[in-house]
Protein backbone atom coordinates (compact mmCIF):
# COMPACT_ATOMS: atom_id res chain seq x y z
CA UNK A 1 0.00 0.00 0.00
CA UNK A 2 2.74 2.45 1.07
CA UNK A 3 4.77 1.83 -2.09
CA UNK A 4 1.70 2.33 -4.27
CA UNK A 5 0.88 5.61 -2.49
CA UNK A 6 4.46 6.85 -2.95
CA UNK A 7 4.47 5.84 -6.60
CA UNK A 8 1.15 7.57 -7.31
CA UNK A 9 2.32 10.68 -5.43
CA UNK A 10 5.61 10.76 -7.36
CA UNK A 11 3.82 10.35 -10.69
CA UNK A 12 1.48 13.17 -9.65
CA UNK A 13 4.36 15.53 -8.71
CA UNK A 14 6.19 14.78 -11.98
CA UNK A 15 2.99 15.32 -13.95
CA UNK A 16 2.49 18.65 -12.19
CA UNK A 17 6.08 19.66 -12.90
CA UNK A 18 6.34 18.64 -16.56
CA UNK A 19 3.00 17.71 -18.10
CA UNK A 20 0.00 19.56 -16.72
CA UNK A 21 -0.42 23.16 -17.94
CA UNK A 22 -0.64 25.83 -15.21
CA UNK A 23 -4.08 26.85 -16.44
CA UNK A 24 -5.43 23.60 -14.98
CA UNK A 25 -4.31 24.39 -11.43
CA UNK A 26 -7.82 25.58 -10.50
CA UNK A 27 -9.35 22.43 -11.95
CA UNK A 28 -7.19 20.26 -9.67
CA UNK A 29 -8.82 21.98 -6.69
CA UNK A 30 -12.27 21.12 -8.03
CA UNK A 31 -11.14 17.53 -8.65
CA UNK A 32 -9.89 17.27 -5.07
CA UNK A 33 -13.21 18.57 -3.73
CA UNK A 34 -15.30 16.17 -5.85
CA UNK A 35 -13.05 13.19 -5.09
CA UNK A 36 -13.11 13.96 -1.39
CA UNK A 37 -16.91 14.23 -1.36
CA UNK A 38 -17.28 10.87 -3.13
CA UNK A 39 -14.79 9.33 -0.79
CA UNK A 40 -16.50 10.59 2.37
CA UNK A 41 -19.84 9.35 1.07
CA UNK A 42 -18.37 5.88 0.50
CA UNK A 43 -16.82 5.98 3.98
CA UNK A 44 -20.32 6.73 5.36
CA UNK A 45 -21.72 3.78 3.40
CA UNK A 46 -18.98 1.55 4.80
CA UNK A 47 -19.67 2.68 8.38
CA UNK A 48 -23.45 2.19 7.94
CA UNK A 49 -22.95 -1.44 7.01
CA UNK A 50 -21.70 -2.20 10.54
CA UNK A 51 -24.46 -1.98 13.19
CA UNK A 52 -22.23 -2.28 16.29
CA UNK A 53 -19.97 0.74 15.77
CA UNK A 54 -21.88 3.32 17.81
CA UNK A 55 -22.48 0.82 20.62
CA UNK A 56 -18.72 0.22 20.80
CA UNK A 57 -17.95 3.95 20.75
CA UNK A 58 -20.43 4.59 23.55
CA UNK A 59 -18.36 2.28 25.74
CA UNK A 60 -15.29 4.46 25.19
CA UNK A 61 -17.13 7.77 25.85
CA UNK A 62 -15.19 10.87 26.79
CA UNK A 63 -11.90 9.06 26.39
CA UNK A 64 -12.25 9.88 22.68
CA UNK A 65 -11.03 13.40 23.45
CA UNK A 66 -7.72 11.97 24.61
CA UNK A 67 -6.61 11.44 21.00
CA UNK A 68 -6.89 15.04 19.73
CA UNK A 69 -5.55 16.41 23.05
CA UNK A 70 -2.49 14.13 22.98
CA UNK A 71 -1.95 14.85 19.27
CA UNK A 72 -1.92 18.62 19.85
CA UNK A 73 0.33 18.39 22.94
CA UNK A 74 2.74 16.04 21.14
CA UNK A 75 3.07 18.41 18.18
CA UNK A 76 3.69 21.39 20.45
CA UNK A 77 6.36 19.41 22.33
CA UNK A 78 7.99 18.63 18.97
CA UNK A 79 7.90 22.36 18.17
CA UNK A 80 9.64 23.21 21.46
CA UNK A 81 12.42 20.70 20.71
CA UNK A 82 12.87 22.17 17.20
CA UNK A 83 13.18 25.69 18.64
CA UNK A 84 16.04 24.44 20.86
CA UNK A 85 17.64 22.46 18.01
CA UNK A 86 17.58 25.32 15.47
CA UNK A 87 17.93 28.13 18.07
CA UNK A 88 14.67 29.61 16.81
CA UNK A 89 12.16 31.82 18.60
CA UNK A 90 10.02 29.55 20.84
CA UNK A 91 6.69 31.04 19.83
CA UNK A 92 7.66 30.99 16.16
CA UNK A 93 8.40 27.27 16.44
CA UNK A 94 5.14 26.68 18.29
CA UNK A 95 3.25 28.57 15.55
CA UNK A 96 4.86 26.31 12.91
CA UNK A 97 4.06 23.21 14.98
CA UNK A 98 0.41 24.30 15.36
CA UNK A 99 -0.37 23.79 11.67
CA UNK A 100 -1.19 20.11 12.26
CA UNK A 101 -1.00 19.54 8.43
CA UNK A 102 -3.37 22.41 7.60
CA UNK A 103 -0.54 23.99 5.62
CA UNK A 104 -2.51 26.62 3.75
CA UNK A 105 -4.04 28.25 6.82
CA UNK A 106 -1.00 28.13 9.13
CA UNK A 107 1.33 29.50 6.43
CA UNK A 108 -1.12 32.27 5.52
CA UNK A 109 -1.35 33.40 9.16
CA UNK A 110 2.42 33.25 9.80
CA UNK A 111 3.79 34.68 6.50
CA UNK A 112 2.81 38.35 7.11
CA UNK A 113 4.92 38.27 10.30
CA UNK A 114 7.83 36.18 8.97
CA UNK A 115 8.15 34.89 5.40
CA UNK A 116 10.79 32.35 6.45
CA UNK A 117 8.63 30.96 9.25
CA UNK A 118 5.61 30.95 6.93
CA UNK A 119 7.52 28.93 4.35
CA UNK A 120 8.79 26.52 7.02
CA UNK A 121 5.19 26.15 8.22
CA UNK A 122 3.97 25.46 4.71
CA UNK A 123 6.66 22.92 3.87
CA UNK A 124 6.70 21.17 7.25
CA UNK A 125 2.96 20.62 7.05
CA UNK A 126 3.21 19.37 3.46
CA UNK A 127 5.99 17.01 4.60
CA UNK A 128 3.90 15.90 7.58
CA UNK A 129 0.99 15.12 5.28
CA UNK A 130 3.26 13.05 3.03
CA UNK A 131 4.79 11.31 6.07
CA UNK A 132 1.24 10.53 7.24
CA UNK A 133 0.27 9.03 3.87
CA UNK A 134 3.36 6.87 3.87
CA UNK A 135 3.42 5.81 7.51
CA UNK A 136 -0.25 5.21 8.39
CA UNK A 137 -0.26 1.59 7.12
CA UNK A 138 2.96 0.88 9.06
CA UNK A 139 1.72 2.59 12.25
CA UNK A 140 -1.63 0.73 12.11
CA UNK A 141 0.16 -2.58 11.74
CA UNK A 142 3.03 -2.16 14.21
CA UNK A 143 2.11 0.56 16.76
CA UNK A 144 -1.67 0.93 17.06
CA UNK A 145 -4.84 2.17 15.38
CA UNK A 146 -5.29 5.45 17.29
CA UNK A 147 -1.73 6.54 16.55
CA UNK A 148 -2.66 6.72 12.83
CA UNK A 149 -4.81 9.75 13.75
CA UNK A 150 -1.91 11.43 15.57
CA UNK A 151 0.51 11.34 12.64
CA UNK A 152 -1.80 13.18 10.22
CA UNK A 153 -3.49 15.57 12.66
CA UNK A 154 -6.00 17.71 10.77
CA UNK A 155 -6.09 15.47 7.67
CA UNK A 156 -7.59 12.70 9.81
CA UNK A 157 -11.00 14.12 8.93
CA UNK A 158 -10.52 14.33 5.14
CA UNK A 159 -7.65 13.20 2.91
CA UNK A 160 -6.13 10.95 5.58
CA UNK A 161 -9.44 9.31 6.40
CA UNK A 162 -9.50 6.80 3.51
CA UNK A 163 -6.03 5.48 4.40
CA UNK A 164 -7.07 5.18 8.04
CA UNK A 165 -10.27 3.43 6.88
CA UNK A 166 -8.27 0.93 4.84
CA UNK A 167 -5.86 0.12 7.66
CA UNK A 168 -7.82 0.28 10.93
CA UNK A 169 -11.38 -0.41 12.13
CA UNK A 170 -14.68 1.39 11.52
CA UNK A 171 -14.75 2.64 15.13
CA UNK A 172 -11.39 4.32 14.57
CA UNK A 173 -12.73 5.99 11.41
CA UNK A 174 -15.36 7.82 13.47
CA UNK A 175 -12.81 8.77 16.15
CA UNK A 176 -10.51 9.92 13.35
CA UNK A 177 -13.16 12.18 11.83
CA UNK A 178 -14.08 13.75 15.19
CA UNK A 179 -10.41 14.14 16.18
CA UNK A 180 -9.62 15.70 12.79
CA UNK A 181 -12.33 18.31 13.31
CA UNK A 182 -11.13 19.16 16.84
CA UNK A 183 -7.49 19.38 15.70
CA UNK A 184 -8.49 21.52 12.68
CA UNK A 185 -10.39 23.88 14.95
CA UNK A 186 -7.24 24.32 17.06
CA UNK A 187 -5.25 25.67 14.06
CA UNK A 188 -7.02 29.04 13.69
CA UNK A 189 -6.88 29.41 17.49
CA UNK A 190 -3.30 28.37 18.35
CA UNK A 191 -1.39 29.77 15.34
CA UNK A 192 -2.59 33.39 15.83
CA UNK A 193 -1.94 33.13 19.58
CA UNK A 194 1.71 32.07 19.06
CA UNK A 195 2.21 34.55 16.19
CA UNK A 196 0.91 37.30 18.50
CA UNK A 197 3.55 36.35 21.08
CA UNK A 198 6.43 36.59 18.55
Amino acid sequence: MTRKILLVLAVGVLSGLFLIPESLYGATGILLDIGLCMLLFSVGVDIGSNKDIFKNLKNVGFKLLIVPAATVLGSLFGGILCSILFKMNLFGSLAVASGFTWYTLSAIIITPVSVELGTIAFLSNVFREIIAFISIPFIAKHIGYLETIAVGGAISMDTGLPIITRNTSQEVVIISFISGIIISLMVPILVPIFVGLL
Partner: protein, 102 residues
Protein backbone atom coordinates in the same frame (compact mmCIF):
# COMPACT_ATOMS: atom_id res chain seq x y z
CA UNK B 1 -14.30 25.93 7.42
CA UNK B 2 -17.77 25.55 9.00
CA UNK B 3 -19.28 24.89 5.55
CA UNK B 4 -16.75 22.17 4.84
CA UNK B 5 -17.26 20.48 8.19
CA UNK B 6 -21.03 20.40 7.59
CA UNK B 7 -20.53 19.13 4.03
CA UNK B 8 -18.19 16.34 5.14
CA UNK B 9 -20.43 15.38 8.06
CA UNK B 10 -23.50 15.53 5.80
CA UNK B 11 -22.02 13.27 3.12
CA UNK B 12 -20.89 10.70 5.64
CA UNK B 13 -24.27 10.86 7.38
CA UNK B 14 -26.18 10.36 4.08
CA UNK B 15 -23.94 7.41 3.18
CA UNK B 16 -24.38 5.95 6.65
CA UNK B 17 -28.18 6.43 6.58
CA UNK B 18 -28.63 4.89 3.12
CA UNK B 19 -26.36 1.98 3.98
CA UNK B 20 -27.81 1.24 7.43
CA UNK B 21 -31.33 1.16 5.93
CA UNK B 22 -30.29 -1.22 3.18
CA UNK B 23 -30.83 1.33 0.38
CA UNK B 24 -27.44 0.80 -1.25
CA UNK B 25 -27.28 -1.81 -4.01
CA UNK B 26 -25.59 -5.05 -2.96
CA UNK B 27 -23.13 -4.88 -5.87
CA UNK B 28 -21.90 -1.47 -4.66
CA UNK B 29 -21.77 -2.64 -1.04
CA UNK B 30 -19.54 -5.55 -2.08
CA UNK B 31 -17.19 -3.20 -3.91
CA UNK B 32 -17.16 -0.29 -1.48
CA UNK B 33 -13.57 -0.98 -0.47
CA UNK B 34 -12.54 -0.87 -4.14
CA UNK B 35 -14.42 2.41 -4.60
CA UNK B 36 -12.56 3.91 -1.64
CA UNK B 37 -9.20 2.77 -3.00
CA UNK B 38 -10.01 4.30 -6.40
CA UNK B 39 -10.84 7.70 -4.92
CA UNK B 40 -7.89 7.52 -2.51
CA UNK B 41 -5.33 7.05 -5.28
CA UNK B 42 -7.08 9.65 -7.42
CA UNK B 43 -6.81 12.19 -4.59
CA UNK B 44 -3.15 11.41 -3.91
CA UNK B 45 -2.36 11.77 -7.62
CA UNK B 46 -4.10 15.16 -7.84
CA UNK B 47 -2.41 16.29 -4.61
CA UNK B 48 0.94 15.36 -6.19
CA UNK B 49 0.04 17.39 -9.30
CA UNK B 50 -0.69 20.43 -7.12
CA UNK B 51 2.63 20.08 -5.28
CA UNK B 52 4.47 19.74 -8.62
CA UNK B 53 2.72 22.81 -10.06
CA UNK B 54 3.40 24.99 -7.02
CA UNK B 55 6.60 26.89 -7.83
CA UNK B 56 6.87 28.28 -4.29
CA UNK B 57 7.02 24.77 -2.83
CA UNK B 58 9.37 23.35 -5.46
CA UNK B 59 11.82 26.29 -5.39
CA UNK B 60 12.06 26.54 -1.61
CA UNK B 61 12.40 22.84 -0.88
CA UNK B 62 16.21 23.02 -1.17
CA UNK B 63 16.69 26.14 0.97
CA UNK B 64 14.70 25.59 4.10
CA UNK B 65 13.42 22.13 3.36
CA UNK B 66 15.71 20.51 5.91
CA UNK B 67 14.36 22.59 8.80
CA UNK B 68 10.80 21.98 7.64
CA UNK B 69 11.43 18.25 7.36
CA UNK B 70 12.81 18.06 10.92
CA UNK B 71 9.77 20.02 12.12
CA UNK B 72 7.49 17.55 10.34
CA UNK B 73 9.26 14.51 11.76
CA UNK B 74 9.40 15.96 15.30
CA UNK B 75 5.76 17.08 15.44
CA UNK B 76 4.27 13.89 14.05
CA UNK B 77 6.64 11.62 16.03
CA UNK B 78 5.77 13.24 19.36
CA UNK B 79 2.07 13.29 18.50
CA UNK B 80 2.26 9.55 17.87
CA UNK B 81 4.26 9.03 21.08
CA UNK B 82 1.82 11.08 23.21
CA UNK B 83 -1.22 9.26 21.78
CA UNK B 84 0.57 5.94 22.28
CA UNK B 85 1.23 6.73 25.97
CA UNK B 86 -2.33 8.03 26.53
CA UNK B 87 -3.87 5.04 24.75
CA UNK B 88 -1.80 2.61 26.84
CA UNK B 89 -3.05 4.25 30.02
CA UNK B 90 -6.70 4.98 29.24
CA UNK B 91 -8.11 2.96 26.32
CA UNK B 92 -8.58 -0.82 26.31
CA UNK B 93 -11.15 -1.55 23.57
CA UNK B 94 -9.48 -3.88 21.05
CA UNK B 95 -11.56 -2.55 18.12
CA UNK B 96 -10.12 0.90 18.79
CA UNK B 97 -6.57 0.12 19.85
CA UNK B 98 -5.95 -2.53 17.21
CA UNK B 99 -5.26 -5.05 19.97
CA UNK B 100 -1.84 -3.73 20.93
CA UNK B 101 -2.39 -2.76 24.53
CA UNK B 102 -0.68 -5.70 26.19
Amino acid sequence: MAYRIFLYFGLMAVGWLLSSRGLIHKKLMNRISLVQTFFLFGLIFVMGIRVGMDEQVISSIGEIGFKAFIFAVATCSFSVLFVYLARKKFIRDVNITGGRND
